[in-house]
Amino acid sequence: MADDQRPYTNNKFRVEIEGQELKYVKRVTGLDSKTDVKELRTGNKPVEYRPGKTTYADISIERFIVDKDQTLKKWWDEYKEGKTKVTRKSGSVIILTDDYSDGLRLNFEGALPKDYNSGNRSAMQDDYPTEHLVLQIEKLSKA
């Protein structure tokens, strides 16, 4: 990392699924983990808070369709066919430094596709089309 690296920005990142880089990713949302807060209220002392179960937000990956990469579509198809074993995948979201080298890695585990959408087409619409995969995950951590 360059010595003069300033804080990371939200526009330099890349995505890996099972070690394979996914190209042309436009957007990634849902990097969030929540632990339930349990109140322990007993008669003889003030309230005490304790952690309960942890849940993770769905990660959604939006990608420009500008090549024939079928990674997301294939994954969704496997899930639709009920192939749980092969469907559960791990991946990483890597935040990049100013010069596009790897800065910080976030790993997600046990991801299953929940929803896939490749949008509609309109001849008047000249934005690049995107595909959208929503993942339900079982773990998110800093590597």
């Binding site: 526009n11 990142f13 003030p46 952690p51 800093k142």
Partner: protein, 142 residues
């Protein structure tokens, strides 16, 4: 919180960009006594501490992450020492040297950890992490 403030956890000072002031709420209980006036009287009831969020620029693994990870992985809730930490939030004057206010929080743990804003190839924002904590005790010290 404004301009100059400092967050300290277990003696370690950390640099944050934004910080909620820890807040406590007390729900009043209303009551009446039949022989007195017709006024409805009130007394303090249940006390609760609201979760508060500290926001900083995203950094690699550090003590905060280790703390969060322990809670996600499961802790021995019987031994508070293993996952609860204490600290303070200090507000400084514009010159950065004189203390205006200080809040202590005791026996806190991290209940939420979030990266914000979303990653977007067309975005133009600093990437931050929001760390939400809940504490058993909140006191205004100064």
């Amino acid at each position: 919180m404004a301009l100059r403030f400092e967050v300290e956890v277990e003696g370690r000072k950390s640099n944050f960009a934004e910080c909620d002031v820890p807040k406590t709420t007390v729900t009043p209980i209303q009551y009446r006594e039949a022989t007195g006036t017709l006024d409805t009287l009130a007394r303090p009831g249940t006390q609760a501490n609201e979760p508060f969020t500290l926001t900083r620029n995203l950094v690699s693994k550090d003590a905060f992450w280790d703390w969060r990870k322990a809670i996600m992985d499961g802790v021995n809730t019987g031994s508070a020492a293993s996952y609860k930490k204490s600290g303070s939030v200090t507000q400084y004057d514009h010159d950065g040297s004189s203390v205006i206010a200080r809040w202590h929080f005791k026996d806190a743990f991290i209940s939420e950890w979030k990266i914000d804003p979303d990653l977007d190839g067309g975005g133009n924002e600093i990437l931050k992490e929001r760390i939400t904590m809940v504490a058993d005790v909140i006191e205004k010290a100064e």
